[in-house]
């Protein structure tokens, strides 16, 4: 078994998670890569999993109007999640 075979096996289990704006500042991080825990099959379940880490992560559960994008498309908290997805959490947008 080569190293590249090992990478092919493990990497797809991860999700990339991004945070923006006030949420990014509250959490003190802009992104992380996380092995998708067993049973976490929706965006909402991932949000709950992160919030369960305690402070400052509870902000994810407490935030009114939390917005989520999966693979750069806005979705609801009930959207399905699979290994390899890019998930972004952020406040309502305020551009323009």
């Amino acid at each position: 078994m080569t190293v590249s075979n090992v990478l092919c096996f493990f990497l797809p289990m991860n999700v990339k998670i991004l945070f923006f704006a006030g949420l990014r500042e509250a959490l003190g991080t802009a992104s992380e890569s996380l092995a998708l825990p067993a049973g976490v099959v929706t965006v909402g379940a991932l949000r709950d999993q992160l919030a369960a880490r305690g402070e400052p992560w509870v902000a994810l559960a407490n935030m009114k109007n939390l917005r989520v994008a999966v693979n750069q498309q806005m979705v609801g908290l009930d959207a399905p999640l699979k290994a390899g997805d890019e998930v972004a959490f952020f406040p309502p947008v305020t551009g323009g």
């Binding site: 991004l18 972004a88 551009g95 323009g96």
Partner: protein
């Protein structure tokens, strides 16, 4: 159809002219320029606090922002008979009076150009991942989303 997210300022006149350059079928170009207002903070925090905005920093979601703007422009092209769309949105640190955004739409007729331009602005305000942080003498503060923006975008929802 062309979308840019950039730190640099833009020349609205050149962009408007480019939409009809070399064409003889464009009768109308409607456009919009959004700018940083110094009095924005005052409005948000109530009559008691009138701290003027000294600067504003625009954060965005690279990759998704461009996709969202392209999708908004494509939606406008599906709804109206328009020939060209130009969207430029700046990011980074801006000062009061600085330009933030340009939306310009070319069509044969003014009704379609105006409607598509306003539609794109309304959808951009609620669907494109940009966030504004205002600096005042009292510190930095992320701008809250406006209910009136959701309302404006909602006007275009189809039953």
């Amino acid at each position: 159809m062309s979308v840019s997210v950039q730190e640099a300022d833009f020349d609205a006149g050149a962009e408007i002219a480019a939409l009809s350059a070399g064409r003889e079928d464009v009768g109308a170009v409607a456009s919009f320029v959004g700018l940083v207002r110094a009095d924005k903070q005052a409005e948000k925090v109530g009559a008691g606090d009138t701290a003027p905005v000294q600067a504003m920093t625009l954060e965005h979601y690279p990759g998704m922002t461009e996709k969202a703007l392209e999708a908004i422009a494509a939606e406008a092209r599906g709804r109206w008979d328009i020939f060209g769309v130009r969207v430029i949105h700046r990011v980074g640190r801006l000062l009061p009076g600085d330009r933030i955004v340009l939306v310009a739409v070319a069509s044969a007729h003014r009704g379609e150009a105006f409607a598509a331009c306003e539609f794109i602005m309304d959808y951009l305000k609620t669907r494109a991942p940009f966030w504004k942080k205002e600096e005042t003498a009292a510190g930095g503060r992320w701008v809250d989303a406006r209910e009136s923006d959701d309302h404006a975008a909602g006007r275009w929802e189809r039953d």
